[in-house]
Subunit: 82 residues, 2 copies
């Protein structure tokens, strides 16, 4: 069965986010009163699995091995049927 | 009042996503049977606004002027109180 795993990768608290700082400065220069900005990367992965649990396990292993760096990233996984 | 606008920027259908292709190939090489993978960028923006509508309008204008390229991107905006 095919599932969609929505993986959301964010920087851990306290880890500098230069991309966010740059975007925030640009928005402020454009006149927007942005007080804080955080970024996140999202991956929607189509997985073939026996059930939802197996799809979740596969997605979490993908995070551990490639999509997220455990030193600086947190991640969440949501699984849905397609 | 401070609101959080969650902006999600995705590539329009039919627009090539080389980042996604590269990640998918890497996952396949690691032995994962990934059939399709899409990426999205997410921005969580803290906005000072009179009400939710004004916060939404500000966030949509940020998309139009900086966060999304209307030629290749679609975007969604969700607003919540902090």
């Amino acid at each position: 069965m095919t599932y969609e795993a929505v993986v959301r990768v964010t920087l851990k608290g306290g880890v500098l986010d230069p991309e966010a700082k740059t975007i925030q400065r640009s928005l402020n220069r454009l006149g927007f009163g942005v007080e804080n900005l955080r970024t996140a990367d999202e991956y929607v992965v189509e997985i073939d699995a026996v059930d939802e649990n197996e799809a979740r396990e596969q997605a979490e292993e993908m995070c551990e091995r490639l999509l997220a760096n455990p030193t600086i990233h947190d991640y969440t996984v949501e699984v849905r049927e397609t």
